[in-house]
Symmetry: C2
Subunit: 152 residues, 2 copies
DNA sequence: ATAAGATATTTGCGTTGACAAATATATTTT
DNA sequence: AAAATATATTTGTCAACGCAAATATCTTAT
């Protein structure tokens, strides 16, 4: 009785599961690549730094919204990243409630290599897709996302 | 200074982030739909029950592999689902280490309505994609997944 | 037959993230 | 101007997950 389970049975049978699997693999691949280079950063942290680098300094809440993270979780990530010296919490000038989160110089350097690293992994993962297909994939996902968010 | 931040700046700039967002939205949508019908089930639990229903009884480890869940996490999910009476841990006949996880009759009933519910949400989410595009989306994602798993 | 190694399940531990409450400050209403 | 309301950040709490260790059992090599 050494017949293997049919491979088809291990396939996801719905989009939700497929997405979960792909996402998990990308996160794992990026994190593996990062740690291989001695860059000890989680995927979430990569997203935070990257966002700051691309968009420039911003408040913690806005940053949380942009990376789709809960405000509380953001506070703790900021604690870690600040302790590590890659970003700074600067008090907002007009609004004393708010902060301005900004990358430090070392933070920017880190961000650059991390981004290259992650970009390579993500690029790699799409190796079997030609340029047209890549654009389509992005487009389809964005449409699905839009539909879900404007549930109508 | 009431100019809104450009919408483009809130867009994901890489596939990883986009996937994470879509997945999150699908999970939220499915869970919302479920709880709306009084079906109190998490997305992970839905996947577990669904897998059991589709594939039939199997060991906990195999089930964990199939739904991409850690063994320890599976044990705890099984605890909950068993306490709830939707599945059973039956000792394996030949292998005294192993279990046979099987749905109970109520479990099957639950699974049916849950699946219909989730399928509807997932179907809905792809409303803006025509049949060809849906097939392509699935295909592209599977190819990306395959590439990631056989990293070469 | 015994020892070594592999596999199934469970449990302990640390981390992460969501949700809600607390606090401080801004904004709007009356 | 005081009160009500809204927003930014932080903290507490809880559930879920991954990883590693523990235990039991099976399998393979010697």
């Amino acid at each position: 009785m050494n017949s293997k389970t049919a491979p088809a049975l291990c396939q996801p049978d719905n989009l939700g599961m497929l997405l979960a699997m792909v996402r998990t693999e990308i996160v794992k691949a990026v994190e593996a690549e990062l740690s291989q280079r001695g860059l000890d950063l989680r995927f979430t942290q990569f997203l935070i730094l990257r966002r700051l680098d691309v968009l420039g300094p911003m408040g913690a809440s806005e940053l949380a919204r942009v990376v789709e993270l809960d405000g509380g979780a953001m506070t703790r990530q900021l604690d870690q990243l600040e302790a590590r010296g890659v970003l700074r919490r600067v008090p907002h000038e007009q609004d004393r409630r708010a902060l301005r989160i900004e990358l430090t110089a070392p933070g920017k350097v880190l961000c650059k290599s991390v981004h290259e690293c992650a970009a390579r992994v993500i690029e790699e993962s799409q190796k079997q897709l030609n340029p047209t297909e890549r654009v389509q994939l992005q487009d389809y996902l964005e449409r699905v996302l839009h539909t879900l968010r404007n549930k109508d």
